[in-house]
């Protein structure tokens, strides 16, 4: 983990002592161009050759995917994802995106390959099936060394608008 400035490290060490009394909501709007810059910065050694996000109005996100899968070779898919309910602690720790369309009947090799990549390269707490992608937010924060932040997150929600994804985060310390 990179060395953090001392004040940030102090907040992570003991949030209640340093930011106790905070109650703030951040709506972070991520434009499609920025989202695709983030995806383009992914590690080079993945078999995913193209990965583009296209958020739509009405809470629907399209993911354009091109992968080289065993047996079936190069395939392109447009997967539609619908963000699920907000994460809140401790009752609802999963950030879920339901797959509403995109995978075809014989896409099992693609799904297996993505599952293998997730298991091999990413921390525990990410589940991917033909029906959904879900992230266990406390497990991922803990794996990143930020477990002290988990109880502070009172709401974490993803929504989609035309050409942008909105991340709502409410922190109460």
């Amino acid at each position: 983990m990179p060395t953090l400035p001392e004040p940030l490290a102090a907040i992570l060490e003991d949030p209640a002592a340093h930011i106790g009394g905070t109650d703030a909501t951040l709506d972070l709007c991520l434009d499609r161009v920025l989202l695709n810059e983030i995806l383009a910065a992914r590690p080079k050694d993945t078999p995913v050759e193209e990965l583009l996000l296209d958020p739509e109005a009405g809470n629907l996100v399209n993911l354009h995917l091109q992968v080289h899968a065993p047996v079936i070779g190069n395939v392109r898919r447009k997967i539609s994802l619908k963000p699920g309910p907000a994460v809140s602690f401790p009752d609802q720790p999963w950030l879920r995106l339901n797959i509403t369309s995109g995978f075809k009947m014989f896409d099992k090799p693609i799904i297996k390959m993505v599952q293998g990549q997730i298991a091999e390269k990413l921390p525990r707490g990410i589940e991917f099936t033909s029906d959904y992608l879900q992230l266990h937010v406390p497990a991922l924060l803990t794996a990143a060394g930020y477990q002290q932040l988990v109880p502070l997150i009172k709401e974490l929600r993803l929504t989609s608008e035309a050409n942008r994804l909105v991340v709502r985060l409410r922190i109460v310390a």
């Binding site: 340093h18 106790g20 009394g21 905070t22 109650d23 703030a24 909501t25 951040l26 709007c29 434009d31």
Partner: protein
Amino acid sequence: MHPVQKHLFDTNFKDLAGSKIEGTIAISDELINMGIMDFLNGLKSGAENDAPSKPSPAPAAAPPALDTKAILALLEVETLKFRTSEGQAMLEVNASLVS
């Protein structure tokens, strides 16, 4: 510099337009003092690095500078109230980045 950070700097954060923050942010006195020391130490180490040294034959490309004026032009502040209470400072804020 990370490519995403570079993109944000190059575009003056315009791809975050519409973002907003609302609420109360509490900061302990200890954290404020830590921040001041961190800032001063940063200035000191910056001054040491600026000291004349052997000229480099091929200087590396400078990272893109942050255009604070352009970013502040995007910032719309509806509320910004500062108050202190025992052992901490409170900031009530309602601000957004406009396009």
